[in-house]
């Protein structure tokens, strides 16, 4: 530790820390553009100048290591003058277009120019002009505004792992871009918008849409992958205008996948905004009373079943489970993909090491998964660990470009690969369980972690990577066949007369046996809704207060940012209303009461925002039924951008899919 005095305040910081970090520890603000705490230090903007005793000139604090006994001054005439000079140089080529710039109101340059800018420019010469670049369908570039901080270059190379951005040319002709025009091949590209301190890289879908001070901000969680990234939903006039990540060090740091950030335009399209009832073979608009009445008439005396979707909130699934129990049905399932999960113990289906725990791992074997498209933020964490040089990664199954080098290993060699690792991890993709021998795969993966010494009291190296934000909560709630109950295949094959689909449209609706009475409760009208006899319009994750559990078992609350459209309602309320019509009224009539009941029945829901339990106390594995087959693993997600009803309804996601998935254009022969 080094003792440093900043403006008379003494602080202790670790050796090797920068002066800027010492200033922050002392509570002193230092302006900066190029420095970003999650990126390497570039030291090229010079905005962070401070004075250090005995140093002949002001020093760039972000790139200057502390020394014991150092005295730093952050607010002297010299410092202020130096920063004013830097600001004047930065503004020489910066256009005066704040009024039409989307960064306006949340621009570091604008803010710092208030403190260090001159009121008039002394620069009479022409400003340089830089051609705008194309870096993909999500990012709008106005390269005149670029101040060459190279944050985007470092982000692409270090965090996203796609070193495709760079600075070409030199001096006045220096330009930031990809040189060859191409869409940045990253699922994390939207983060460039946040990382750019000026308006050079802004959100394309959000261009000219709103000003930050007009927005109402709601803190929530992302459910479109199983990471459960912390997000902020920005709303104006009842419409979601953008979604941004919030900082959550244990989950997403400050990143967000493009799917979670940009798919919200799908929230407005193809929505179910009123109940529908099938009359004379045709779906017809109906009132809530009619729809619930139709259910109340149809269900009694029937064999019932319920299937929960992948992005549902825990509350609605708990309510539906309660309703089914009250109606005497044990036929429940939440595994639309047919994954052979074992929910008898939470650590059989959780990412037990934790996302932050990846940073302690020294060897990982990934089985049947492509974390880059299944959970890009989590993949960035693996990459972060790999960057330290202390991690090796093996892949069983299809080997994808994960942005870090991997070694293909066969299931049988995986044990040898993990040999010698202190903290081995096995990451099993949920997709690897969605096959005949899924249970054997699960048992084999657990066994692999066990044999490698990964199941200890201080380390839990078995990890299941789910795909969506509602999948773990469903397992926690036991939304699975009860005693003698049917699973999804059994229900679809005619084992039930009436089927309640709660946001479940992740399977082929034509599998539902003809003659089954189908209730579809959800927000988007897709195949399952078209097959329904009654449609109950529900809410998306931005339209309800809901509880979600991420892949590591972290219970988080999403919040209502906008009201559901039209007559759509929060899902648990719909189920509560139906229970009343069916004469089996559920014993709660407020969200608080429901949550209390839920936490009493499933104590895990009382542990808000807590990571996985550390370590493994019982290394007995899940029961393997059947033998491990020979079939090669298939990756479950081929198209990152379109995976669920919301993303499939999103024009932005459609554009991404079209841009990134198109076949390579052949170069015209000369």
């Amino acid at each position: 530790m080094a003792k440093v005095t900043v403006d008379g305040i003494e602080v202790e910081v670790p050796n090797g820390a920068s002066v800027l970090q010492a200033c922050e520890a002392a509570g002193k603000e230092v302006p900066r553009f190029c420095y970003h705490e999650r990126l390497s230090v570039a030291g090229n903007c010079r905005m962070c100048l401070v004075e250090v005793e005995k140093a002949p000139k002001p020093v760039a604090s972000c790139a200057y290591p502390v020394m014991d006994g150092m005295k730093v001054f952050t607010d002297t005439p010299v410092v202020r003058n130096a920063r004013r000079g830097v600001m004047e140089f930065l503004l020489i080529n910066h256009p005066l277009d704040c009024p039409i710039c989307d960064q306006g109101g949340e621009c570091d340059l604008q803010d710092q120019a208030m403190a260090y800018g001159r009121d008039l420019s002394r620069y009479d010469e022409g400003k340089r002009a830089v051609k705008d670049k194309y870096v993909g369908p999500l990012i709008k570039t106005v390269m005149n505004r670029c101040i060459h901080c190279t944050r985007c270059v470092r982000f692409a190379a270090e965090v996203a792992g796609v070193p495709e951005m760079g600075a070409t040319g030199r001096g006045e002709s220096m330009e930031i871009g990809t040189y060859v025009e191409k869409a940045l091949s990253s699922e994390l590209s939207g983060n460039l918008i946040d990382i750019c301190p000026v308006g050079a890289l802004t959100s394309r879908p959000y261009a000219f849409v709103s000003r930050p001070w007009e927005l109402r901000k709601t803190e929530s969680v992302d459910v479109l992958d199983a990471v459960g990234a912390a997000i902020r939903v920005d709303v104006r006039g009842g419409e979601v205008l953008r979604i941004m990540p919030r900082v959550h060090d244990d989950v997403n740091e400050e990143w967000l996948g493009d799917r979670g950030r940009f798919s919200f335009d799908g929230l407005k399209r193809n929505r179910l905004d009123r109940p529908w009832v099938r009359r004379d073979g045709k779906l017809q608009p109906a009132s809530w009373a009619e729809a619930l009445g139709a259910i109340a008439r149809a269900l009694p005396g029937k064999r019932l079943g319920a299937i929960a979707g992948d992005t549902m909130d825990a509350e609605s699934m708990f309510a539906l489970k309660g309703l089914m129990a009250a109606l005497g049905s044990q036929n429940l399932d939440c595994r639309q993909d047919g994954a052979k999960l074992d929910a008898s113990r939470p650590d059989y289906y959780l990412f037990n090491t934790g996302i932050a725990g990846i940073e302690q791992a020294d060897a990982i074997v990934i089985i049947g998964s492509n974390p880059r498209v299944e959970a890009p933020v989590l993949n960035a964490r693996i990459r972060k660990r790999w960057m330290t040089g202390a991690l090796r990664v093996g892949v069983v199954g299809p080997v994808a470009d994960l942005t870090y080098p991997t070694q293909a290993v066969a299931m049988g060699e995986a044990g040898a690969f993990l040999d010698g690792a202190k903290n081995p991890m096995v990451i099993l993709g949920r997709g690897a369980l969605a096959r005949e021998d899924g249970a054997a795969v699960l048992a084999a993966a657990w066994d692999l972690a066990k044999q490698a010494g990964g199941l200890r009291e201080d380390w839990h190296g078995f990890n299941l990577l789910h795909q969506f934000g509602g999948q773990v909560a469903a397992l926690d709630l036991g939304f699975l066949p009860g005693e003698g109950g049917l699973d999804m295949a059994g229900m679809l094959a005619g084992g039930v007369d009436a089927l309640w689909l709660l946001g479940a449209d992740g399977f082929d609706a034509s599998r539902i046996a003809p003659g089954t009475f189908v209730i579809y409760q959800g927000h988007h009208g897709e195949a399952a809704a078209a097959r329904a006899d009654v449609i109950l319009p529900g809410a998306t994750y931005t339209e309800k207060d809901g509880t979600y559990v991420n892949t590591e078992g972290r219970v988080q609350r999403g919040r209502m940012a906008v009201t559901p459209p039209g007559e759509a309602r929060e899902d648990w309320k719909i189920i509560r209303a139906a229970s009343q019509m069916l004469g089996v009224t559920l014993p709660y009539d407020s969200l608080e009461a429901l949550r209390a009941e839920m936490a009493a029945a499933h104590p895990v829901f009382a542990r808000l925002d807590q990571g996985p339990l550390p370590g493994c106390t019982d290394d007995a594995g899940p029961v393997a039924t059947g033998a491990l087959g020979m079939a090669p693993f298939q990756l479950p997600i081929q198209n990152y951008w379109q995976v669920d009803p919301i993303t499939r309804a999103s024009p932005t996601m459609a554009e991404c899919a079209a841009t990134y998935l198109q076949p390579k254009p052949l170069l015209a022969a000369e």
Binding site: Y134, G166, R170, T178, Y179, K182, A183, L402, Y660
Partner: protein, 220 residues
């Protein structure tokens, strides 16, 4: 291919600009280049081959000059270098565009590089420039003559100010030029000759005009 495929399958190229049109679609090192590369890469420790990027860019530029008569570095060649040195193509683009010595666009057979910095300017670089324009058929800096023989570039101090003004033709310095000697030089180049480089007035290296004046044994 309709699916993203493992890990990406990102091939989207958005647009092909005008400058792109002149870019060849293929590049391969020839035997002479390969021999040079082998020697150069051996100079760097294993895993640090990326350090060889500048010499390799020169090799490309010389090979292009040899083979096509236009010494420049096409983009595919940068990709080939990136692959050879296991580095991201972008890092090669950055280096190639940073150094003005690498031509990223096709140039004429002879690259006329006029030094326009103060000492050369005081000693008559304007005349050298005028001679290049008139004899070479060039409109100004950045231009390539219609016959494809010459490209004219202004460069900063070439570090040979004692013998100013300087005209660098490809890799060679021609020194102590004036209008007429520059015209003669260019005419010779047009005929396919390569006049000996160095001083046009017979100066010995950078000794004073008219020969050495000290340590000649005659000064007392």
């Amino acid at each position: 291919m309709s699916a993203q495929g493992p890990g990406g399958g990102f091939h989207a190229t958005h647009a092909v600009g005008k400058a792109e049109a002149a870019q060849p679609t293929e590049f391969a090192f020839d035997a002479a280049s390969e021999a040079e590369i082998e020697k150069i890469i051996a100079r760097y420790p294993a895993g640090k081959q990326a350090s060889a990027v500048i010499p390799l860019l020169y090799i490309v530029q010389r090979q292009m000059g040899r083979v096509t008569g236009s010494a420049w570095v096409p983009r595919v060649a940068m990709d080939v270098i990136a692959q050879r040195l296991s580095m991201p193509p972008m890092r090669v683009y950055e280096v190639a565009t940073f150094y003005l010595m690498f031509n990223t666009k096709p140039i004429g057979r002879y690259h006329l590089q006029v030094c326009g910095t103060t000492p050369c300017m005081l000693r008559g670089s304007d005349d050298v420039l005028a001679a290049c324009k008139s004899a070479g058929g060039l409109k100004g800096y950045g231009d390539t003559s219609a016959d494809g023989l010459f490209t004219l570039t202004e460069v900063e101090c070439l570090g040979a100010c004692v013998n100013a003004p300087i005209l660098q033709v490809d890799d060679d310095y021609y020194e102590d030029l004036d209008y007429d000697s520059t015209v003669r030089l260019i005419e010779a180049l047009k005929r396919g000759e390569r006049p000996p480089h160095g001083s046009a007035i017979g100066r010995q290296t950078s000794a004073p005009e008219g020969g050495p004046m000290v340590l000649t044994g005659s000064e007392d």
